[in-house]
């Protein structure tokens, strides 16, 4: 188990993060959404 | 061909590449600064910027490639040259850093900033001088072994006429190579004023180049007789080199075919450079270090050569693309393309 975490998992996480970044990047609907109005 | 000869040939080729592209680059920076000083920047700056902009970073890589490869193929050079060259190479590094970064600062951040232009122009012209010290030291006679450690004798180094001839040659050759190349480039761009001015510079610097080059051979006779005798054994290479030199100057003089003039110039320096290098064989550092006893183990050498071949497979098409898009692209050279940076 530790062998896997030391030798392969780091690259899997790295590449996974890069792919995830590309997937998430275009979802920018929330970027321009105004905050909630203050409660009266 | 043995692995060590193959290794040193590869490294020499990259060093030669650096000498040519570096010289063009450094000389261009100097001419640019000089034109600011004499108020002729309107003639030169444009043509120089168009050439320099996309390639400045590539120039630097040739040097990195050379010294990383050197330590890779010949690890003992790290011990001899690394220990003794701390001061000269550190100074070269500082000049290199100022030149590279201030070039970028001026080009991308503060166009036309005179102070920045002077800084990179001056740093560029001092660089060949400080790097050329390595060649001087490789001739031997400046390094003593003290308690098994190599020590550089600065007194001997700075009082030797050989040192100063090599320094002068490096500066003269830098300006000469650069001026010849830029003459051709300006001519291609159809910029007549710049062509004329650069042609004048090229002719001016041709004479000091050939005189100092001859002077060095003469100095070597008394400094390093071995090397001198081997140089004489390769007299035909130098004779051919001299003939090409005359050819370049003739073409410039007659305002004829500047493209051919550049190729003759490269041929001239290649013959002289490889002739000098072959005559140096087998020494990397007279008389302490030869390419045989400093060579790395066969496993590493093979790995490096394989990596080198694979790397070239990647680099040559990329370099070709770079040259096609900029240097050999008529529209770009003439400034017709709207290729502003970023």
């Amino acid at each position: 188990m530790d062998e896997f975490l030391m030798f392969y998992a780091p690259f899997i996480v790295l590449i996974g993060a890069i792919i995830l970044a590309f997937i998430v990047a275009p979802m920018d609907g929330a970027a321009t959404r105004p905050p909630k109005e203050k409660k009266k | 061909m043995s692995l060590e000869v193959l290794g040193i040939t590869v490294l020499m080729t990259f060093l030669f590449g650096y000498i040519i592209v570096g010289a063009i680059d450094f000389g261009a920076g100097f001419f640019n600064a000089y034109s600011l000083l004499t108020g002729k920047e309107h003639i030169l700056t444009n043509v120089i910027q168009r050439y320099l902009s996309p390639v400045w970073e590539v120039t630097n890589v040739f040097l990195v490639f050379f010294f990383v490869g050197m330590v890779g193929f010949f690890p003992s050079t790290a011990f001899y040259y690394g220990t003794t060259m701390l001061v000269p190479l550190s100074i070269a590094l500082i000049l290199l850093a100022i030149r590279g970064s201030y070039y970028a600062f001026e080009t991308y951040g503060a166009s036309g900033h005179k102070g920045y232009s002077f800084m990179y122009g001056m740093a560029g012209i001092l660089l060949p001088a400080s790097l050329s010290i390595v060649l001087t030291i490789s001739e031997g006679g400046f390094i003593d072994m003290v308690n098994g450690q190599p020590v550089l004798d600065y007194g001997a180094l700075f009082t030797s006429p050989l040192t100063w001839s090599i320094v002068f040659l490096s500066i003269a050759a830098t300006l000469y190579i650069s001026a010849v190349f830029l003459t051709w480039y300006a001519d291609k761009a159809g910029d007549r004023d710049a062509t004329e001015l650069l042609r004048k510079y090229a002719l001016i610097w041709s004479l000091p180049t050939i005189i100092t080059a001859g002077g060095i051979v003469w100095e070597l006779r008394s400094h390093n007789a071995d090397h001198y005798n081997q140089l004489l054994g390769l007299w035909w290479m130098f004779a051919l080199s001299g003939a090409l030199f005359i050819g370049t100057v003739y073409l410039l003089w007659k305002r004829h075919n500047y493209g051919l003039a550049v190729w003759l110039l490269i041929g001239q320096f290649a013959l002289a450079f490889y002739g000098y290098g072959i005559a140096h064989y087998p020494y990397l550092l007279y008389p302490h270090l030869t390419i045989h006893d400093s060579f790395t183990n066969p496993a590493m050498a093979t790995a490096l050569i394989i990596a080198f071949i694979l790397g070239l497979g990647l680099l040559i098409p990329s370099l070709y693309l770079l040259l096609r898009l900029f240097l050999f692209n008529k529209d770009y050279v003439k400034g017709r393309k709207k290729d502003e940076h970023a």
């Binding site: 030391m6 996480v13 905050p35 | 996309p54 590539v58 010294f67 011990f79 590279g100 020590v151």
Partner: protein
């Protein structure tokens, strides 16, 4: 100058060069990916703002790359100038990745030149984006190869040492040493993380300074999202590094955690002070060190008392480790809350103090990078090549190292100040609002003339 002084000044000069270079190197590795993502989003969504974002980042990037290149050249050569004995020995085993790094760098340099000057040359933006791929690949692989050399210093293998001679050398085995995967992945992902947070800091700063342009909002949201992904990734890989250390360099882990006695159920201590072997005022997280080392709360973790006293690193690296981890966790929280807040439409993420926090995140992540590298390097002491060569044996015997130190310190000051001044000037003279207006005018002009906008 005595030999001891040479060693001392060689260490200081190397540390200075690396500390300065790593700022620009980190940006150099991470920003190309950020530019690529922004340009890609711009093309996909046909949103001019993201294209402009990529373009402006690329402009600033050139300045940092220039400093990164020259300082990288400096450290490359200083390895031979200051540590000639190390290079002579290690060069025989680990020269291959150093050599490959120059190729990666070469590749990057060529395409960066092309990319920068071809913004308006292609009618199809995708072609232009394609040119950035080799830049990003070259930049990341430079980091990979250089980090492999550093990993080798921590876990040398791929040779046999017989009577002080290296025999049976296997360059590939040396490259794929046990320290390599965690170290390489951690260095690369933290470069992405740091670059994202630096760019986020710039966007937040513009918003704070009164600009309300949607361009900055898009930039901030994008970079915070990317920062969140990469900072979580960095933490996960950091956890893997703990497992590597526990097995291959237990003294480095033990020194960072002030773990003296070999024992199971080991707690993780954060901060505190050391009194003899007793840790006072520390924040203690039970079982956490055992989990970090072996993913098992009861597992035994080797302590410092199992090592000879002259082979353990200085204990102050504890604080370096803590700084790195604290900033990492803080940035996960800041970016996580921002992302969540954007979706939940919370108000406080738009408040001034929160934006200032994001601005602070830029320099903070750079500090985390520095702390991480100091930890990595000091944690290897007294070795330069673990178990094979100690630092003093490796250093130059040349004098004048002190003078060179002052010269280089001056140089770095000039470069640091120069790059900041130029960057500020560049963006102040050309604010994004004006550039957007210019471009819109250009496009209008273009359509009137019949669509010829080349």
């Amino acid at each position: 100058m005595g030999n001891e002084e040479s060693v001392f000044f060689s260490r200081v000069l190397t540390e200075l060069t690396l500390s300065f270079h790593i700022i620009y190197a980190t940006i150099g590795v991470g920003v190309p990916l950020m530019i690529m993502i922004a340009q890609w989003v711009g093309i996909r969504k046909n949103d001019e703002h993201y294209i402009l974002l990529a373009r402006r980042w690329a402009r600033g990037f050139v300045i940092t790359v220039a400093v990164g290149v020259v300082t990288g050249t400096a450290i490359g050569m200083q390895l031979s100038l200051l540590w000639p004995n190390f290079m002579e020995l290690a060069g025989q085993v680990i020269a291959l990745p150093l050599f490959m790094e120059t190729f990666a760098f070469f590749f990057e340099a060529i395409f960066l030149g092309i990319y920068l000057y071809t913004w308006d040359r292609f009618d199809n933006q995708k072609k232009h984006l394609l040119l950035l791929v080799p830049v990003a690949l070259g930049a990341s692989f430079s980091a990979v190869f250089i980090t492999i050399v550093n990993a080798f210093m921590n876990a040398p293998q791929g040779f046999d040492l017989v009577d002080g001679e290296l025999v049976n050398i296997q360059p590939l085995v040396a490259m794929f040493n046990p320290a390599m995967p965690t170290k390489v992945a951690h260095v690369v992902i933290t470069a992405y993380m740091t670059s994202a947070f630096i760019l986020a800091a710039i966007a937040a700063f513009r918003l704070l300074k009164g600009s309300d342009h949607v361009y900055h909002k898009k930039a901030l949201f994008l970079t915070m999202k990317l920062g969140l992904i990469f900072s979580i990734g960095a933490a996960v890989i950091g956890d893997f590094s703990g497992k590597y250390l526990a097995e291959y360099q237990p003294e480095k882990l033990a020194a960072a955690e002030w773990h003296f006695e070999t024992e199971g159920e080991a707690p993780l201590m954060l901060y505190g002070i050391l009194d003899g072997q007793e840790v006072k005022y520390a924040i203690t997280i039970p079982y956490a060190l055992s989990i970090l080392a072996h993913s098992d709360p009861t597992a035994e973790v080797i302590g410092l008392n199992d090592f000879p006293e002259d082979e353990i690193p200085p204990l102050y690296i504890h604080y370096l480790f803590d700084t790195m981890v604290t900033i990492g966790v803080l940035m996960i929280m800041v970016s996580g809350l921002y992302w969540l807040g954007r979706h939940m439409r919370w108000r406080f993420i738009h408040s001034r103090w929160y934006r200032w926090l994001i601005v602070a995140g830029g320099p903070l992540t750079v500090i985390a990078i520095e702390a991480g590298w100091w930890y990595a390097e000091v944690g290897r002491q007294p070795w330069i090549l673990r178990d094979i060569m100690k630092v003093p044996e490796a250093a130059t015997t040349s004098g004048h190292v002190d003078t060179m130190l002052y010269l280089f310190a001056t140089l770095y000051l000039i470069l640091g100040v120069g790059s900041v001044v130029v960057l500020r000037r560049m963006f102040r003279n050309n604010p994004v609002e004006r550039e957007i207006a210019d471009r819109e005018a250009e496009v209008r002009e273009g359509t009137r003339k019949g669509g010829d906008h080349r």
